[in-house]
Amino acid sequence: MDLSTTYLGLKLRNPLVVSSSSLCDSVDKLKALEEAGAGAVVLKSLFEEQIILEGEQMDATTSTAESFPEATSYFADIPMEIGPQQYVALVSKAKKALGIPVIASLNCVTAKNWAKYARQIESAGADALELNVYFLPTDPSRTSAQIEGTYLQIVEQVRKTVDIPVAVKLSPFFTAIPHMVSEISKRGVNGVVLFNRFYQPNLDLEEMKASSQLHLSRPEDCLLPMRWIALMYGRVKIDFAATTGIHDGKSALKVLMAGANVAQVCSVLFKHKAQHLSVMLRDMEAWLKEKEYASLSDIRGVLSQKTCPDPEAFERAQYIKIIVGHD
């Protein structure tokens, strides 16, 4: 069975792409993912904010000496690299070690470093770049248009800087997602990844403070990206990667049938390790065979809003029906 697909102009042996996460932070792990069947991998994001914080922490904790004669320092003077160097090296090593496409992921907080780091990543050999853009709109005086404008500026800047394919990972918190995706598409971006999962802070009633905890996605979470991809497929000229809640072969098939080029998986691999990819692929293949599809490309978008027998199901009316039904 031919499971191959095309994403961001890259030929993938299958549509299962491992999402950007700590699953993809070392060559050993990446090789294991490749062996388990991954179609491509998105490396753990390079977070500029983390680089800055690490630098601040190193500086704060190693620069407090020079005060006592017996200890004018407390740390060995060793060469350190706090910056994109290690990440760039990971890209380079991953490219050498893997046969599948290696997609880098970038999250910056300063305008100049989006372009600077993107260029370094491209030079290291990344096949594509996923921009993990995220600003939490906490300032009540900033309008949605201003925030969207910031996204688009970054996208434009990176697009002008690098020649490799670029995807943008978006959050679901846009007023007009299709418009946003359309604007991104106009700027020459090759794909969008829908949607970014954010850690939501919790409240600790004992300690009376906010707390953060990693929550893995649940299978039903894939409905959200599936809906928006189904709505936009064929309407916005751009590749789609669905991510969040894709835990088995059938959910992967669903997002592909909604119109996605690839299905990104993550949480389920934390639960069941890399080998789960092969299980998903096997299930997908079995379903395709059972339904007598010749190849995976045959199913892409067949259940998008354009060709779905029940197109209004993706729109608001369907919501009303459910409510009414429950009455």
Binding site: G55, A60, A65, S67, F68, A71, T72, F75, A76, I78
Partner: protein
């Protein structure tokens, strides 16, 4: 042209700006194959640099990376060196002081076996009446009889040069070489010097001799035996076989020096002379003091005086002929200056050698002198006492006298036996074309680092010469640094502090009220002040004395609000780059634009490894500096009424006012000998008189939110926040702002409760605020303790603290001592120490004194704890209202367990003797009930000890009037009938490494001693070197590549005895368990050891939240909590009780919150990942093992039947 000649001809030396330790390490690492090391101030840096070089993969001149291996002590290091030498490797080590003394046995062996070796020593005082980390020659002089050659350096260039000469000459002569230079003055002074290249070193070293050294090695391929035992028939003859080597040595060293001169142009001799060719008065000495003397002699000769100086380069073997030949024939009087003291000797050593040389050769007619010169000797510069040209002049002037004073001291007022020479300190040899700057900064504000960069900029980017020397504080928190910088057109020989500055930088406004820093300014000098007040208002805010100095000396005055610039540019409290920029802008040493460009390059070099963001914000601060720098128009008159406050209060005891207070004021140099105790014994309770006022913010107590848990007092490293319970009727006229509330306790119902912050002693670490669990229900971001401005409440809190102390202390037997809350109602007998802000050790120390201080003897290993406890000027140990308190001493680093064990032996003997006497002395036995009660008292717990104390008091009353010998003897011993608590305290460097043999023996010996290991997992005091306690994967000094092996499990080792009480504690994870462990350990009638996890600045954490780091260490399984109480085993129960739960967070979640682990991920990420994985598995395995141990049945199986 031969390759040797071309090495000389093509030589292009590099100029570097480095300190002495770096100069040594450059040569030693390059010329050695094996380096065995152990930390000791001020030598540690040589080992650190060597380790870092090898960790970075730097090769030596033979193209291989030297092995650098830390040992468990200097004794161990010298043993490893000896072994490595015997096995043929070119081997070296670095040490000084007590460390060198530990090497002496091996030094005899190495010399006796005629083995080529070099030890590099930053010469330091040996501990006698007190420990001193500073420089003199008492350590190296103690090795005079070992048979080692002594080669001495006086300047930083000489340190590098003599290092090379030592490594060369040892091969040429087969004698081992001790190369030394003065601790701190030379080890830490930064100078611009010429660096030797690897080609230079290859030129110097003779490969054939290296091969010969190897050929002598022990090898099964050409086996020999060494180290035989010999009988009276032959031992002596064998000992004399080395004579030809010693006779030949001086000449070979001179030849080596000549070869070196051919290479570098720097000609040294065994004894170098400077001064008038026809000098009549000559001083002879060695080390850095000779540089100062050189400068003084040149100045005197320029004035026409017939004086000179002989510098000793090769002190052993002492070439009498070369020594005598060094003096001009015209010399009439010679002063020999020693930097060591041999009490009881005929004289100090160099004097004896010189006197012998001259007398011996004069008698043989082998001197150029017409008449026998008069030779006198004197001591100078002990323990890094300042040695100035004025003192040299006094020494030379003394020689003018018909009867010059002999056996004098110079540099102190010795008013007991009246041996000191007077000198005129106003005489100076400083030259006008030398820029002389003094910079007063805080350790935390980066002043020293910036000044080091300034020296490098000027040293390496201009043709000028630069010198930097840095004076640090005796306190670790809020400490002041004073940087002394000279820049000039000639090499700088001024090995003394600047007292005539033409630039004074004060980087902290509050220093103005503490130190008369402008006293050091010359007329017309420039004064730069970091001031929160602008140029128009700063004048009126300064103390009167400062205004007076500015006017008197017509100083140019500049100010900048550096903290404002730092805040605006994200630099926080770091004002170093800002003040550095001001210095360059004002001093004009370099054109402004050029200076700024070079500062930026230096910033990139310094901070580049921490990322672009750090570099950029530093650059930004530089860019915003000049617009904020203002020249102050000095008004013509004094306007201030602010007087400099006295260093200590008038209420202080006489000794504190007359001695301690003078030291606190920074004027200790002026104290005469007669003011000091003769045997190093000092009173307690002196820290409370030194009101340092170093915290900008202190905790404010909101009693309405307080839940009276006592955690704030428990974690306070400085006893600067305390709790107290007192009866309501004790409240008489409290100050208006004194806060108190009802005590929430059933048993002490009706009592009042107060928390008091000692604002003037608080370091502002915030540990109490961080730990405070009581939150405002309506605004949980607010706690019962919140930080607030110190200065605005300073006076009221001073009054409140005094009132708080006067309130009665609660009866010790009425509080639940085994609780956190209860233990914190006990008076701490350890207060306001010099420990770091947020120190993780001192809360345990304080708890010890709260629980047992009134009957404790404490033996303290050398290290952080001995320094924050024992470093003058003030002592944090104190007494309670009855005058009782911990009696404390520090012997050495290596013998602490044995030292404390000795306390126990004496105390037990006295107890036994007193019991014997009580039972038989008639005066006592006539009170049978009292005697019975005394002898029968078990003294378990505080009430029983109180009761025994009362009985003993009664007994002493009875004995007071007795006249028989045994009654009198009993009176001197009676107090020992009250149980004493012996504590042996130290860090992991002591417990796991250097003192482990003794510690193990003391635990095994079974006596009732309590060991408290303040485990920071590194040698904290010397700057964070690896110990066997350092965790796997942590980066430490001497483990620059991350520690590759796991931490030694001291707890399990101690448990293996079965009769040792063992506890691991971590206050931040479980404070109640900590209290219980201390009480159980002390109550256990046998040896006990508490391993206390202590967060440290060397972990690379925010010390404010150190308790959270402790918690994580426990939660990940790195530091499981347990108590192993052998008393339970005696009851058939499992003695091991686990007090923490199975690991619940990842090892990463613990480790990567700390720079010591995290930095390896930025240096060697793959290695770091492997270490993390191993450490994680180790933690889980350890937990599993402990869990199984704790679950074991302790019921004994039936004994086999006897056949």
């Amino acid at each position: 042209m031969s390759s040797v000649d071309s090495a000389v001809k093509d030589r292009r030396p590099t100029l570097v700006t480095i300190d002495g330790n770096t100069a040594v390490a450059h040569v030693a690492h390059a010329c050695s194959e094996v380096i065995a090391i152990y930390p000791i101030t001020p030598s540690s840096v040589m080992g650190e640099i060597s380790d870092e070089k090898s960790a970075r993969g730097e090769k030596n001149i033979y193209g291989t990376i030297p092995f650098v291996c830390e040992m468990q002590s200097e004794g161990g290091a010298s043993g490893a060196v000896h072994g490595s030498l015997q096995a043929g490797a070119l081997t070296t080590t670095f040490t000084c002081s007590q460390g060198l003394l530990l090497m002496i046995p091996n030094m005899f062996k190495i010399a006796g076996e005629l083995t080529s070796a070099v030890f590099h020593v930053s010469a330091r005082a040996v501990a006698t009446h007190a420990l001193s980390i500073f420089g003199d020659h008492s350590d190296v002089m103690a090795t005079r009889t070992t048979g080692w050659a002594h080669l001495v350096s006086g300047s930083i260039q000489e340190v590098m040069d003599m290092s090379m000469i030592a490594h060369t000459a040892t091969l040429e002569t087969r004698l081992p070489f001790l190369h030394y230079f003065d601790g701190f003055r030379s080890s830490h002074e930064v100078q611009k010097i010429e660096e030797l290249s690897f080609d230079d070193m290859r030129y110097m070293l003779n490969e054939d001799l290296i091969a010969a050294h190897r050929a002598r090695a022990l090898s099964p391929d050409h086996p020999v035996m060494r180290g035989s035992a010999q009988n009276p028939d032959v031992f002596w003859q064998g000992r004399e076989t080395c004579n030809p080597y010693y006779i030949a040595c001086p000449d070979k060293v001179q030849k080596t020096m000549d070869k070196f001169a051919k290479l570098t142009g720097r000609q040294y001799h065994l004894f170098d002379y400077v001064g008038a060719p026809d000098a009549e008065r000559v001083v002879i000495m060695m080390g850095s003091g000779a540089e100062c003397a050189h400068e003084a002699v040149e100045a005197l000769v320029a004035k026409g005086e017939k004086v000179g100086l002989v510098k000793v380069r090769l002190y052993r073997p002492f070439s009498v002929q070369d020594c005598v030949n060094a003096f001009p024939a015209t010399v009439k009087a010679i002063a020999v200056l020693d930097r060591t003291k041999e009490p009881g000797g005929a004289a100090d050593p160099l004097y004896c050698d010189v006197q012998t040389a001259i007398a011996e050769l004069f008698a043989d007619g082998k001197t150029p002198f017409k008449a026998m010169p008069r030779v006198v000797g004197g001591r100078y510069g002990m323990g890094s006492k300042e040695f100035s040209p004025a003192q040299v002049r006094a020494v030379l002037d003394n020689l003018k006298k018909p009867q010059p004073r002999n056996h004098f001291v110079v540099g102190i007022v010795e008013d007991v036996t009246h041996s000191s020479l007077e000198y005129d300190d106003s005489w100076s040899t400083e030259q006008d074309d030398v820029v002389r700057g003094i910079f007063y900064g805080l350790g935390s504000d980066g002043t020293v680092g910036a000044n080091k960069n300034s020296i490098k900029i000027i040293g390496e980017e201009t043709d000028g010469y630069a010198q930097g020397y840095f004076v640090y504080d005796s306190k670790k928190a809020g400490s002041m640094t004073v940087s002394h910088l000279r820049f000039g057109p000639r090499p700088i020989r001024s090995t003394y502090l600047i007292t005539r500055a033409n630039f004074v930088g004060c980087h902290q406004f509050f220093f103005l009220e503490k130190f008369d820093m402008l006293k050091q300014a010359v007329d017309g000098a420039t004064f730069l002040l970091n001031s929160q007040y602008g140029p128009d208002e700063v004048w009126d805010k300064m103390p009167k004395l400062v205004q007076q100095r500015i006017l008197e000396k017509k100083l140019k005055f500049y100010c900048i609000d550096a903290y404002k610039v730092a805040k605006a540019t994200g630099m926080g409290g770091r004002i170093n780059s800002i003040m550095q920029t001001c210095f360059f802008a004002i001093s004009g040493i370099l054109p402004r634009e050029e200076a700024i460009a070079k500062i930026k390059v230096a910033i990139k070099k310094t901070y580049g490894s921490k990322g672009d963001a750090i570099v950029e914000k530093n650059w930004k601060s530089v860019d915003q500096t000049l617009e904020n720098l203002h020249e102050v128009k000095v008004p013509g008159k004094i306007s201030s009424l602010i007087e400099m406050p006295p260093a200590v209060s008038d209420k202080a005891p006489k000794f504190v006012k007359e001695v301690t207070g003078v030291m606190v004021a920074g004027l200790g140099d002026s104290l005469p000998v007669s003011k000091f105790p003769v045997d190093g014994t000092y009173p307690l309770s002196t820290a409370r008189w030194e009101k340092r006022n170093i915290a900008l913010e202190i905790p404010y107590w909101d009693k309405d939110i307080c839940i009276q848990c006592g955690k704030c007092a428990m974690v306070c490293p400085h006893a600067a926040i305390r709790t107290k319970v007192f009866p309501p009727d004790a409240l008489k006229d409290p100050p208006k702002t004194f806060q108190y509330m009802d005590f929430k306790d059933r048993e002490l119902a009706g009592m009042k409760y107060s928390i008091q912050v000692f604002a003037e002693d608080c370091t502002g670490c915030e540990a109490c605020v961080f730990i405070c669990p009581a939150k405002d229900k309506k605004n949980p971001s607010r706690k019962s303790l919140n930080m607030g401005d110190q200065i605005s409440v300073r006076m009221q809190e001073r009054e409140n603290a005094e009132y708080f102390l006067k309130l009665p202390d609660v009866d010790r037997d009425k509080v639940k001592q085994d609780t956190v809350k209860g233990s914190q109602l006990l008076v701490p007998l350890f207060e306001f120490s010099g420990a770091c802000a947020g120190c993780g050790e001192t809360p345990y120390y304080k708890l010890l004194t709260q629980l047992f201080g009134d009957r404790a003897l404490i033996s303290n290993a050398t290290g952080c704890s001995s320094i924050y406890t024992g470093n003058l000027p003030t002592t944090p140990l104190c007494t309670n209202n009855e005058g009782r308190g911990p009696s404390w001493s520090n012997s050495l680093f290596e013998d602490n367990a044995e030292f404390g064990f000795g306390f126990r032996l004496a105390v037990d003997k006295f107890d036994e003797q007193a019991r014997e006497l009580v039972a038989r002395v008639p005066v006592a036995t006539s009170h049978p009930q009292l005697v019975e009660a005394i002898l029968g008292a078990k003294q378990v717990g505080e009430p029983e000890i109180f009761a025994q104390r009362a009985r003993v008091a009664e007994l002493k009353k009875v004995l007071a009037s007795a006249t028989d010998l045994e009654s009198k003897r009993l009176l001197t011993l009676a107090d020992y009938l009250v149980k004493k608590s012996v504590w042996i305290v130290g860090g992991d460097g002591w417990a796991y490494d250097i003192g482990y043999g003794g510690l193990d023996h003391v635990l095994a010996a079974g006596r009732n001693v309590n060991l408290l290991v303040l485990d920071t997992e590194v040698y904290s005091n010397t700057g964070g070197q690896m110990s066997k306690s350092t965790p796997l994967g942590a980066v430490a000094k001497f483990a620059a590549g991350g520690k590759p092996i796991k931490k030694k499990d001291m707890g399990l080792i101690a448990m293996s005895y079965g009769y040792v009480y063992v506890a691991t504690v971590a206050m931040g994870a479980n404070d109640l368990q900590t209290v219980k462990a201390f009480i159980e350990a002390e109550a256990y009638d046998g040896p006990s050891i508490i391993l206390a996890y202590s967060t440290c600045i060397a972990h690379g954490i925010d010390m404010k939240s150190g308790m959270d780091n402790q918690k994580r260490a426990v939660e990940c399984g790195h530091w499981p909590l347990y108590r192993y109480n052998p008393a339970l085993a005696a009851e058939g129960k499992n003695p091991l009780k686990l007090d923490s739960k199975a690991p619940k967070i990842s090892y990463e979640a613990y480790a990567y919150q700390e720079t010591r682990f995290k930095m390896l991920t930025k240096s060697k990420p793959e290695q770091a990942a492997k270490f993390l994985q191993q450490a994680s598995e180790n933690a889980l395995a350890k937990w599993k093992y402990l869990e199984q141990l704790a679950g074991m049945s302790y019921e004994l199986p039936a004994a086999p039947k006897t056949e």
